[in-house]
């Protein structure tokens, strides 16, 4: 299993290289660069020259590409031009916030989705099944950013019970007891994680329902039922484990989807995470910051798929990584 993990990570290296190269030359081809914001039409040419040289932008693109790759190999992401501090620090500030949000969403998505799917499959063709199917299709087809706005409207304005922006209460947080502070943080997580996770939860429920229905038709389930086992034991103990396999496959594919959603949800809820950072970096054409963001994103996807692969082995003992 350990060698398998190493092999998978080694296979990710060409992928990382491809992504970084693609994005670097995409930025190079685009008009303007990150130093544009320092200039006005009246800036004297020698000042322009000095600023461009300071950031190393006077060298040809291929040279800068080489320098960047060498630095990256040494673990140096460079300095952000728009924020004028090390990219590593900026990313380190934003990444945990996004991870908290996405991991919480991921847990909620899969719990809710799997439970709903089991309920639907166990009562196939009932009114409950039909109602939940329509409901999950409704949420599956919903734009996440629109749901975020509606949640803000409902729970922030019409029935103001939950905070709708930021990670902590900007005024009161410092005056709270530690337990109140924890509650404050949790309350700020509720709406963003719902907005982020609802459509994925709906899709998990759809997969879970059909996957469980397929397993329930098999002979060993009929045997278990014939033994006189109660239905909940048959479904939860015998059928569930096999039905979970396809869910784990899509678990790995949920991460990029969550990051896409985070771009919108984080800007709506003023959540200082990677999604907002990427938007800012792209709009300011800050090459080192954009490269670092895409590096992290690709790593998230690779690790997500790897975790899904390893979980597969936990659920399905037939699979061995040799």
């Amino acid at each position: 299993m350990f060698t398998y993990t190493l092999k998978k990570l080694a296979m990710a290296l060409p992928l990382l290289w491809g992504v970084i190269t693609l994005i670097f030359f995409l930025i190079e081809l685009s008009p303007g660069d990150a130093t544009d914001r320092f200039f006005t039409p009246e800036t004297p040419p020698e000042v322009r020259q000095a600023i461009t040289e300071k950031w190393g932008l006077d060298k040809p693109a291929v040279t800068r590409y080489g320098i960047m790759m060498v630095n990256l190999l040494q673990g140096d992401f460079g300095r952000s031009i728009s924020q004028e501090r090390p990219v590593f620090d900026i990313v380190l500030d934003a990444l945990p916030n996004t991870l908290v949000l996405s991991l919480l969403s991921l847990v909620v998505i899969n719990l809710v989705g799997v439970v709903l799917g089991i309920i639907q499959a166990a009562r196939q063709y009932s009114a409950l099944d039909g109602g939940l199917s329509v409901l999950s299709l409704f949420f599956y087809s919903m734009p996440g950013f629109w749901l975020a706005l509606v949640l803000q409207l409902v729970f922030g304005l019409w029935w103001p019970v939950l905070p709708t922006s930021g990670m902590i209460d900007p005024v009161m947080h410092d005056f709270m007891t530690p337990s109140q502070q924890t509650w404050d943080k949790l309350a700020h997580l509720v709406l963003p994680s719902i907005a982020l996770g609802v459509s994925s939860a709906a899709s998990v429920a759809r997969y879970m329902r059909s996957s469980l229905l397929e397993v329930i038709r098999q002979d060993y389930i009929r045997t278990a039922k014939a033994k006189g086992l109660p239905e909940y034991v048959v479904v939860l103990k015998h059928a569930l484990r096999n039905a979970l396999l396809p869910i784990i496959t899509i678990l790995g594919m949920q991460l990029p989807f969550l990051v896409s959603g985070a771009v919108l949800v984080e800007s709506i809820f003023a959540w200082p995470g990677m999604g907002r950072l990427i938007v800012q970096a792209i709009f300011s054409q800050d090459t080192p910051l954009i490269i670092a963001c895409f590096f992290i994103l690709t790593m998230l996807v690779v690790v997500g798929n790897l975790v899904a692969d390893l979980l597969y082995a936990v659920v399905d003992p037939r699979i061995r990584f040799e």
């Binding site: 706005l149 996957s211 771009v263 792209i282 996807v301």
Partner: protein, 384 residues
Amino acid sequence: MGAPVTPQDHKPSPLGYVPGLGHLLRGDWPNAIGLSVQLLILTWAAVAGFPRLGGLLFPEQGGSGLHPWIALLSWVGVVGLVGYTTWAGQQPPPPKDSVRSPTAELIKQFQRNRAGVFGLHIVSWMIVLALLTPLVAPFDPDALDVGGKSLPPQPGYWMGTDDFGRDLLSRSLYGARISLSIGFIAVGLSATLGALIGAVAGYFGGWVDRLSMWLVDLLLALPRLVLLLAIVGLFRSAGAQSLFLIVVILGLTGWMGVSRIVRAQVLTLKEQDFVQACRAMGIPDSRIILGHILPNAMAPVIVNASLAIGGTILTEASLSFLGLGVPPPTATWGSIINDGREFMRTAPWITIGPGLLIVLAVMSFNLLGDGLRDALDPKLRGRA
């Protein structure tokens, strides 16, 4: 009693395939509601749109370019369809035991799936309304202050007006044209590209296969919205924000899933005898791929495309919402939501209405796609 109808005597009429027509002819009202509503909308569009045709076709009365002609053609089509259906209502229904072609069998299978038929109904209403928009929209989408600013939904302004006093129903109808066209064209582009790349990769194998699948992995590792954001965001000052380029970029970033599916199909197809026979006869590879292999791999592509239209509409709305979609003042569903964001407190209907339209459109395309998949592939029946 006349002579019994044998299968050979009967030529199936294309009308037999119109969902709901059989129910309508037999007077089975509960099941004919879908078609009846559709006919009512069409009749209303034909009647209400007629007086506007004059104004649209003569430039001195306002209106020029291609739109009036599209509207005229759609109007003629609508009048024709209503007339034809009325005429067909007087014809005897086709006998039940006629032999069906594979297409007819497919349509029959599809009609069994009520959810899929419902999706098809909604999709076709939306397309008809989008085509007829210049005739049926109550106001000019960009006209300011048509009756008051920030009016809540009420008779005459069914979706309300925005902060500039523009009528939101008219804007949403014009927005539907943009959003639906982007969905259809971008998915058409990506499905074609994906099918070609997948077929070439699967057929030739070797380094072509490895290279293209590496590219697929690479593009799939990047979340699509983030990649789009990077492309449109970086090139926005170079004019990337035009309708044409948005469609092209959406098409170029959506082909990976299709190419994987087609490649897997081609890998099994190319080992089959008919392909070996083609090779033995010396038919060039390009003709084997385009003429013999791809037609056999099309079913999953069609299913994937109808599901992808919904996803593309969502992606386009997200881009518009970030201010990176089709440039203003052109209304799309996403940009109307974005416009309404500042006025969530005072005028939430600006945001809520178009959002519900997006949900309805995406949901219908998903239902249609699920129905098509069930009809096309018996093995997949019942899966999510």
